[in-house]
């Protein structure tokens, strides 16, 4: 997982998006949820890549591991503007609303959150 320069990682991302791939940047410290998410993607056979920070899950299907720097580059780009509606981020940032709040308050369970996030994707 070497660092890639900004232009290179943008080019990789753009190529995948132009090919019709859905990309999710996974920015949550809950890797059990990630496993469930991947299982759900497999079941639905969705054309998706989940980009994670670090190499721990590089052997999981659908997952692409990024270096810390590359992950930051993409996250910064997404926070700069919405550059493609096939790219989204899963985050539980407390600076705005979150679908995970519904889980914490018992309105949805995790499987329903996954179903919601993947709705109309693929």
């Amino acid at each position: 997982m070497s660092n890639t320069c900004k232009e290179e990682i943008y080019a990789i991302l753009e190529k995948l998006l132009n090919q019709g791939k859905n990309i999710i940047l996974y920015d949550v410290e809950d890797f059990l949820f990630l496993y469930k998410f991947i299982e759900h993607c497999k079941k639905l056979n969705i054309d998706i890549e989940v980009w994670v920070n670090g190499g721990k899950f590089s052997k999981l299907s659908f997952v692409r591991s990024l270096s810390n720097e590359d992950f930051s580059i993409i996250k910064n780009l997404y926070y700069l503007y919405e550059f493609n509606d096939k790219f989204t981020m899963i985050t539980n940032d407390k600076k705005y609303a979150s679908i995970f709040n519904f889980v914490e308050q018992g309105i949805l369970d995790e499987n329903e959150v996954i179903e919601a996030i993947l709705y109309k994707i693929g």
Binding site: E14, L17, Y79, K120
Partner: protein, 414 residues
């Protein structure tokens, strides 16, 4: 549909008409939502009939809007005429475009609205450069704001909607207690929204032009400012919150309580501290013998004029003086007098009159605590592209009557 999107829709449709792009075409719309219905209404004014609305939701298929049927997208393959045009006004343009092509539809597809200034679907260098400039401008604005309000917490209401801001304020206090926020400044895009905030207390409020507000919000996202919060259920794009509605029916108020603020679902909302101001011409309104009608809302499909006319006739015959709440060039309903109280004066007007009948809009939230008989009418359509009706999401328990406006309403029974 928000006014600016409505204007964009009109402009794009007019360009198609003027360029003869709709001439002799069989027009379909992909995606059944309120924006699609408004587009049908607009096309109708030019004598353009939509053949069908395509929608993936089975619960919507088979329904109709003004005799325009809703059908499954695969039905486009039954279309024998080569002169077909599919219009897409939904946010999910890319996915819908792909689906049509995968159905082997080779005809023309047009995107009618580009949804928000945060979205610019390109990774070209000049786009990134422009967005960077915008973000830097947002940082400059944020710096000025921070200097004006040192030590304050910043809360952004990104969308120009009375109801959204009202909901944001209902649960602000409880949220602020948990987060230990003492001093806050709210940033909004119009003076009317500032008035809504002031119903709940003497808060600091800054009003920005929409583009400036978008820039400052973007800067807060980009810099991960921990001293800020975006108090909205659907803006900006980083949220996945609204997707929950594809799975579960959740009222908008609960969305704000639990989804936006992370509070337990049974949290008691804060009521407005102030009843507002007294309308300056209040004495002209017959006490308890008047009706305030509110038939207009910028982001809502219009209700059949006959429903309003019948209501005006009924109450006039019963001896009530009828008024229409109007702003900026709106015309009062026939047989009523125009009245234009400010946001802060609305409650006094409604309570003086005794009866309020309005289309479901943010204005209804502003007067929901008013001591009067209150009736709210809902257009009969779905909330965005969910399977829930608008009345399911926007129901107001403080109103005596929440009614889907279709067919005849028996006003004498209310």
């Amino acid at each position: 549909m928000e006014k600016k999107y409505y204007e964009e829709m009109k402009q794009n449709i007019m360009e198609l008409i003027e360029g003869n792009k709709l001439l002799n075409k069989r027009v379909y719309i992909f995606g059944h939502c309120s924006a699609s219905l408004e587009m049908i209404d607009f096309l109708e004014t030019f004598g353009i009939r939509v053949v069908a609305i395509l929608d993936n939701s089975e619960s919507k298929q088979g329904k109709e809007y003004k005799n325009v049927p809703v059908m499954a997208p695969k039905r486009i393959k039954d279309e024998l005429d080569s002169n077909v045009l599919v219009l897409i006004i939904s946010r999910f343009y890319e996915a819908m475009h792909k689906q049509l092509r995968e159905l082997d539809y080779k005809g023309e597809i047009r995107k009618i609205i580009d949804y928000n200034s945060f979205a610019e679907y390109s990774m070209a260098k000049d786009t990134i450069s422009r967005m960077t400039i915008r973000e830097k401008h947002g940082e400059e604005l944020m710096l000025k704001l921070s200097k004006k309000y040192p030590g304050f917490f910043f809360t952004f209401c990104p969308f120009n909607a009375l109801g959204d801001v009202y909901f944001a304020m209902l649960y602000w206090d409880k949220f602020a207690q948990i987060r230990k926020i003492d001093n806050v400044v709210f940033c909004v895009s119009s003076p009317n929204l500032a008035e809504v905030i002031h119903l709940f207390g003497d808060y600091a409020v800054e009003v920005y032009e929409q583009k400036e507000l978008d820039a400052i919000i973007q800067a807060n996202l980009y810099t991960r400012n921990a001293n800020s919060f975006i108090a909205h259920h659907d803006r900006p794009y980083v949220l996945n919150l609204s997707k929950a509605l594809f799975i579960r029916k959740i009222s908008l108020e609960d969305i704000y309580c639990s989804g936006v603020y992370g509070l337990p679902i049974n949290t008691t909302p804060t009521k407005p501290m102030s009843e507002g101001k007294v309308y300056e011409n209040i004495d002209a309104i017959p006490r308890g013998k008047a009706v305030i009608f509110s038939p207009y809302a910028k982001s809502v499909v219009a209700i059949d004029l006959k429903i309003w006319e019948d209501a005006v006739d009924y109450y006039t015959n019963m001896g009530y003086k009828c008024y229409t709440n109007v702003v900026l060039g709106e015309k009062p309903l026939v047989g009523t007098e125009a009245i234009s109280p400010s946001i802060l004066e609305l409650r006094s007007v409604v309570e003086r009159a005794g009866i309020f009948i309005g289309i479901r809009s943010g204005l209804c939230d502003v007067i929901r605590e008013a001591k009067a008989k209150k009736i709210v009418l809902y257009p009969d359509y779905y909330y965005c592209d969910t399977t829930w009706k608008v009345i399911d999401i926007y129901w107001i328990k403080q109103f005596e009557y929440n009614i889907v406006a279709k067919g005849d309403i028996k006003w004498e029974n209310l």
